[in-house]
Symmetry: C2
Subunit: 252 residues, 2 copies
DNA sequence: TTAGCAACTTGATGTAGATCAAGAAGGGGC
DNA sequence: GCCCCTTCTTGATCTACATCAAGTTGCTAA
């Protein structure tokens, strides 16, 4: 069983970082080794974040994008009255922080567990992407994917039942793990039931009951935060025609 | 009473179009008259769209961004089983189409009424924004605002009651009208009850009942698609602390 | 090992808003 | 004007999920 805590660094991803065990993480294919080298020197590793520690908060000045090296994070929007809505989870190898491009961050980003992230400073991004049009284009794509992902979530939250939401979430997570060389069937959830519920617009109790039903119907084994999907097709079937609009969030 | 059908073209906005009555629509402040002139020649007006006519569909190749000259449009994501979720409404002077930046459009855009739009071809955008860094930065901001707006909607849909959703929607619409020189208190809804309900994740009947309650409590007069807000504060109060996270969608 | 707490589970009950079903009111076209 | 068709309203009923209330499990720490 693979744990998401440490990212192996041999997946098919795209950007190098001088201090990272990550092989590549965000640079588009077709970039010269020379440009690649210049990019490396611009990526900084941040001090490790402990559980519940924020990387940035709503309103913070936007200075950089971030890539998850190990661990995982969530982003959330808040209201005056202290309510939160989790807007995304980020796994090793994924890039996030686009919410800040309008000068200030509109979300907070918080570590779900002990995590390492790399920083891509805005200055470097701008300088380099003005020299490498394909990088510029790639960043546009990543932002567009963020938009698409958020809009798929809108559909999920307003038109889908609780079980469809959870099934969609699990399938999406599974695909993201698989894409990075982890097992698609067996993985560890780094977020609490409460976080899953919040993300999916449900109550934590409901999520718990849905996991119970997945166990009873032999679709998946759920033991604490460890999940093994036995019947992927049944899970997908539960989603009922919206497979194409999964929040696949191919970020990076 | 102001109708949104025709945009007066004297608002504080930013981009010129050679055939448009719009004065300016998207170019950032501080751009030289020279660059402005070059930009003008790149904007094309499209043939008018009639009601329910699509401007682009999910999966269409991304070739341009669009600005609303007159009328209004909606964007929507769809599922295999034919269900739709409206992801946004666009009023005169607003820019949209960012969902396509990942090569293909992930939404469809459909006219709500007879509408005119201007087209900003991708090629022109790329060429010009590589020469004018501030334009590049402005486009990033617009995309970020789209992300922020979508994420505010996530919060609205999953954590807010039906009346809070409608109040938020009306306040947001009102602000957008005001920003473009229209009355903030009195405006015409170009979308059906069904569209409003779909956008807010509700049933059309519920929207109808909520409008009735707004009338009964003297907060607003609602007569068909014409709305007059009498007590703006009461409307805002109904939103309960989430005023800061309104989908203000300052697009353009 | 055991205490203390947070995370999770499970059951009982309540309710906001969906759905179903009929009418009423607009609003183009002729 | 009048017809037809869509949109909107209003009421009655139903239900998925939230909320409330106890447990239970499982870390973490000494």
């Amino acid at each position: 069983m693979v744990d998401v805590a440490e990212f192996p660094g041999n997946g098919p991803i795209r950007l190098t970082c001088k201090d990272c065990s990550l092989a590549e993480l965000c640079l588009p294919r077709g970039v010269s080794p020379d440009d690649m080298g210049r990019f490396e020197t611009m990526v900084d590793q941040r001090p490790p974040l402990s559980r519940d520690e924020p990387l940035y908060r709503t309103g913070d000045r936007f200075t950089a994008l971030y890539a998850v090296k190990s661990g995982s994070l969530k982003t959330l929007v808040s209201t005056q009255d202290g309510e939160n809505q989790i807007t995304g989870f980020y796994l090793p190898g994924e890039l996030f922080g686009f919410d800040g491009f309008d000068d200030n961050h509109s979300c907070s980003a918080v570590a779900l567990e002990r995590s390492n992230v790399c920083e891509l400073p805005l200055d470097s991004i701008e300088e380099l992407s003005s020299n490498i049009p394909s990088l510029r284009r790639e960043l546009d794509r990543l932002m567009a994917r963020q938009i698409n992902s958020d809009q798929s979530m809108l559909l999920l939250l307003s038109r889908r039942s609780a079980d469809e939401r959870l099934a969609t979430f699990l399938v999406s997570l599974s695909m993201r793990f698989q894409q990075r060389g982890f097992s698609a069937n067996e993985f560890r959830l780094s977020m609490s039931r409460h976080d899953i519920a919040n993300y999916l617009g449900l109550a934590a109790e409901t999520v718990s009951r849905l996991f119970k039903r997945l166990k009873e119907s032999k679709i998946a084994s759920v033991n604490g935060r460890t999940i093994i999907v036995h019947d992927f097709d049944a899970l997908r079937d539960g989603i009922d025609g919206c497979a194409g609009s999964l929040p696949e969030r191919n970020l990076a």
